[in-house]
């Protein structure tokens, strides 16, 4: 099936490491947040206003679009910061702002900054799309729609010729992979209720991901719900129905995960990139999808389901706390030096141990994520088989190492 318009793959960049990982994986665009006005204020190491310039230049150099999220609830006292951010966005030529609040929409309009409507706006019908088309060229649909509903919206955009401010037909963006929330379009008050931490200001403490006990108020008897975290949905994964997702007419595929590591961004983006390419050239098949899924199971996940897109009800709860990833990363140390002529990297071991044959992962702002297996190892200048905490190690490594790089050991994860 050949499409008239190419599919855009949008990856999360919560850090410079992830940004580089997205570049390595061949993402068409990335989204990021700065300061406290984005939905991952608490959990990810947020960028500062000053970082906008660097992000913009990195993305431009790699021919990739960059979008900034400004999609929290906005209060009066946020307006000045919002304006300051938007001025910098305009100055640095960030490609678009992702917003849900009308103040952001209005300011972007005034400044002539392209706008995308965030999933926080919960757009679920063509009338809403038509309304937002006055301001935005791209609209992220609610994650709770079925593919039939998505298809209807995409067809109606063509039939009614709904155009955005740029003059082109409005583009539809859909979440294809990553964490799902029990609340509709992330509008959750659980975290606010228990810890005063508003999810809608990016401060969610994720209490839905914990186990809970049901208590009989009359007898005081407590019941623990077995094997299920009843408020914690599994992660969205659409790779095995990606052909149907694309056939529904969407333009942009979005991957969730600004709080996740560079290895997650690189592996997931790469898998979806390959999947999109194989759909384009007609070689997409269930076997390939299964292989990609296995690959993605190695990085952070809470188990997969295909979300609501095929009309299923929420009912796929996670069977364990935290990640169900089949591989885990153990922090070992950090990069210190690189010898480019002989392709050797030098690291200092700060925790645990390392031996010949181990699979290592290095993440950093220059390399993104790189995995290699150690074949030879020098410990404190002499050839050895094992290194422990405090040792300085060198080994052949084919990517440049900097002091900002972190070294991890990859091992199989065992889940109870």
């Amino acid at each position: 099936m050949k499409r008239e318009k190419p599919i855009e793959l949008l990856a999360p960049a919560g850090s410079f490491d992830s940004l580089q990982a997205a570049i390595n994986a061949g993402a068409d665009s990335v989204y990021f947040g700065v300061e406290q006005l984005n939905m991952r204020t608490r959990s990810s190491k947020s960028f500062d206003i000053d970082d906008i310039k660097t992000i913009s230049s990195i993305c431009k150099a790699n021919n990739m679009k960059a979008y900034i999220t400004l999609n929290t609830v906005m209060y009066e006292y946020d307006m000045q910061l919002l304006k300051t951010i938007l001025k910098e966005v305009k100055k640095q030529g960030i490609d678009a702002v992702i917003a849900a609040d009308f103040a952001v929409i209005e300011y972007c309009n005034q400044l002539g900054i392209p706008l995308h409507i965030s999933t926080q706006a919960n757009v679920s019908n063509i009338e809403s799309v038509e309304f937002f088309s006055k301001f935005a060229d791209v609209i992220v649909l609610a994650r709770e729609l079925t593919l039939k509903q998505v298809e209807y919206i995409c067809n109606e955009i063509k039939r009614k010729e709904i155009k955005g401010p740029s003059g082109g037909l409005v583009k539809i963006e859909l979440f294809v992979h990553g964490a799902l929330c029990m609340a509709v379009s992330g509008k959750c008050y659980l975290s606010l209720h228990t810890q005063n931490a508003s999810a809608n200001r990016g401060a969610c403490i994720q209490n839905c991901r914990r186990p809970y006990i049901v208590k009989d108020a009359e007898s005081g008897e407590e019941l623990m719900i077995d094997n299920e975290y009843i408020m914690s949905p599994k992660d969205l994964c659409t790779i095995d129905i990606l052909d149907q997702v694309i056939a529904s007419g969407v333009d942009v595929l979005k991957i969730e995960g600004r709080t996740k590591g560079a290895e997650y961004v690189q592996v997931v983006t790469q898998c979806y990139k390959q999947a999109v390419e194989s759909i384009n050239d007609g070689t997409f098949c269930p076997e390939k999808a299964a292989a990609w899924k296995t690959e993605m199971e190695k990085v952070y996940n809470r188990g997969f389901w295909e979300g609501y897109y095929l009309g299923r009800k929420l009912g796929e709860w996670t069977p364990q706390p935290g990640s169900a990833a089949t591989e885990k990363k153990i922090y070992i140390g950090k990069g210190t030096k690189y010898y480019p002529k002989i392709n050797v990297g030098e690291f200092i071991i700060e925790s645990g141990s390392l031996k010949v044959g181990d699979t290592l992962m290095v993440t950093g702002p220059h390399c993104g994520m790189v995995k290699e297996t150690i074949e030879t190892l020098w410990v404190n200048g002499t050839k050895d088989n094992e290194a422990i905490k405090g040792d300085k190690v060198t080994f052949p490594f084919h990517t440049r190492v900097t002091s900002k790089d972190k070294l991890y050991k990859i091992t199989a994860a065992h889940h109870a």
Partner: protein, 73 residues
């Protein structure tokens, strides 16, 4: 003497401190974060001495802060 310490950089601007204790806090119009009125400090850490009678109240504010960047000593 007791004091409040405010680690301002991590503030997410939820305004809970300001709502509950406007005599000590205000919301900065410049960057949308909470500011400890008359707090002394440099960079991102601000300190204000408080009388003993205020400690309980200030502890409540510290507890209410969702990102736990207010400490009372």
């Amino acid at each position: 003497m007791h004091k409040i310490i405010h680690y301002r950089k991590q503030c997410i601007g939820c305004a809970v401190c300001y709502e509950q204790q406007p005599e000590l806090w205000r919301m900065s119009k410049k960057d949308g974060k909470a500011t400890l009125i008359k707090g002394i400090g440099k960079k991102d850490v601000f300190i204000l001495n408080i009388p003993h009678a205020e400690v309980v109240r200030c502890n409540e504010i510290a507890e209410a802060c969702p990102v736990r960047i207010i400490k009372v000593l």
